[in-house]
Symmetry: C2
């Protein structure tokens, strides 16, 4: 089936671009001896996760227990990291059950509350959970100072059911190396193990080698890029593999084109561009600008376009942020050379717990 | 089951508040003799649509064909409006098939391209599609000027398979009355029928009577409110029925609480408040402020709170915009007095086509 036969709006991924991105990043991490642990929150799709594993990924990152369940029971049952404070009986029971189905299961923690919950559940279930302590590296969300991390490490080291595996941070720009070194020094001083030092973010991925302490790296968006990566020069238009095919449904005035994709299709993630806030980039009309959106409409200023799109015409739109865009959809259409090659269910969509 | 037993994050609706909102708005429209045509894009849930119909709604508004299919085949097969330019063979065929399953099916159009497509499909399928012409009322998206609307009306009036039913606009603040009058005057001058004059938006809903020409009104958010409606004084906290129950998963520094709900749970819709952009309002901590978010984390500044939430504590969060929030979820938990009364599948979620 040709993509022109697909009804719109529809979420597609260009397989040639996807595969090259997977190869490019795997090659970098393999060359530098850093384990690549892809974050599946971007694609939420078993097929792409298996492609990542076949290329040499050391395991997966899943942000929620529900995402990990999809991946583990979908055949990727090696080494799984959930970099999240898992709290509450319901999730702890699911986590421990999942530990029976994969070789190695690790979570993140940044509080005594979290680690005592993990330990109690793991001991009761007779499983071992790995723990990475999260350090704060600049996002002002979760994570500890080096000293707090070392203190928590000593507690984890003593608690039953847990295995202290090291530290993690997000994002890990090269500038945070001293923070990592300070934390590891404190760990060493207390005799705490740290076989894993886990960095993350596609933004800084190709600088990972500038922090030699890193043993592994978590990245999500590299397989598909997006408008943000395009503007930042990390992906070319051709390398941006995730595309919403949309139709022009209205041209009420000469400079305006309304598309059948809005926030329910692209997500409400906004990129601040030189031309104002935008929800996407139109491949065929680089001079067109999203000036607004509603849930089902994309509002596009086409006044700068020499030739303007007509009603009924189809265009390809790069979303700003691939992860929330994918989360709006149930299926991802895999395309090569304009032909549909596969229809992948987005099985880990909506796994908020 | 008590709501404390639900794992978080979880989307809930307070039934007492929901029912009162449904009653309050239905009463207003009934008193003023204006048909209420609820927009199901907010709740996407059959149960609430049936509650709206039982209270006296004249029919439903569905933004996409897929949403209408869910509602019609879910038992609401009276009078359905899809206020959207339906374009392309696939959707036109589904639209005409749906016309066999409801008493009255109307769509919006703002171009010759759209109405010729509708006419061709309807004539081929042997069905009649109602058409409202959309006029531009200030959103700068779809919609025509009064003169363009009258011109398109004359074409629709001649085309087979179509029945011109009047006009629609969004939003319809009282100030746009002259535009409506001008359009209707032109329709009268050309002998065009306009039994339906359809207004819309919860923002201006209770001023609908200030435009006496309106015969019906489309509103979506009134059953549940949201943070935007709270700030605007349209709903009290108690009247905001849609709530995400979330857990505090991290308290890395004294003034910061991290919740297990981010944009994947609340949506990335942002409200500009006096305290900066926000993704939600925390019912138990009115002095707390979302200062940021990621997909799975809500970043909350609790420094202004006299008493601060602890790790493991649960809070209720009002989303900024209920429609995209609901679209992130597969289930809506209906709650009364802290007890789960029903679990409603959000069947029209993700119906982008």
């Amino acid at each position: 089936m040709h993509i022109h036969e697909l009804d719109t709006p529809v979420l597609t991924v260009e397989l040639d671009a996807l595969e090259k991105n997977l190869d490019r990043y795997q090659r970098y991490f393999s060359e530098h001896g850093i384990g690549l642990r892809p974050h599946i929150k971007t694609h939420k799709t078993l097929a792409i996760a298996h492609m990542q594993m076949r290329r040499g990924a050391i395991g997966l990152t899943c942000q929620k227990v529900g995402e990990a369940e999809v991946m583990v029971h979908g055949g990727i049952n090696g080494d799984i990291l959930i970099p999240y404070n898992i709290i509450g009986q319901a999730k702890l029971e699911r986590l421990c059950a999942l530990a029976h189905h994969c070789e190695r299961l690790t979570v993140a923690a940044d509080s005594e509350y979290t680690v005592r919950g993990l330990s109690g559940a793991a001991a009761a279930a007779g499983v071992t959970l790995g723990v990475l302590i999260e350090i704060e590296t600049g996002e002002n969300r979760t994570g500890l100072t080096p000293q707090q991390a070392a203190d928590l490490g000593q507690l984890i080291h003593k608690l039953p059911g847990l295995e202290l595996r090291g530290i993690m941070g997000f994002p890990t720009a090269p500038a945070i190396r001293p923070l990592i070194q300070e934390t590891l020094d404190l760990f060493d001083r207390h005799g705490l193990p740290h076989p894993v030092v886990s960095g993350g973010s596609t933004r800084h991925a190709l600088q990972a080698h500038e922090i030699p302490e890193l043993t592994e790296y978590r990245i999500g968006e590299y397989p598909v890029g997006g408008y943000g990566h395009l503007l930042a020069g990390r992906h070319t238009v051709e390398q941006c593999a995730l595309r919403v095919i949309a139709t022009v449904v209205s041209r009420p005035v000469d400079g305006r084109a309304i598309l059948d994709c809005g926030s329910k299709t692209l997500s409400a993630s906004i990129l601040q561009t030189d031309h104002g806030p935008s929800i996407g980039y139109i491949v065929e009309y680089p001079d067109a600008r999203f000036y607004g959106y509603s849930e089902e409409h994309g509002h596009v200023d086409v006044s700068a376009c020499a030739q303007k799109p007509q009603i009924g015409e189809r265009v390809q739109v790069l979303p700003v942020h691939p992860c929330p865009c994918v989360n709006e959809h149930d299926e991802l259409i895999a395309v090569r050379g304009g032909q549909v090659e596969a229809v992948w269910p987005i099985l880990a969509r909506g796994k908020i717990r």
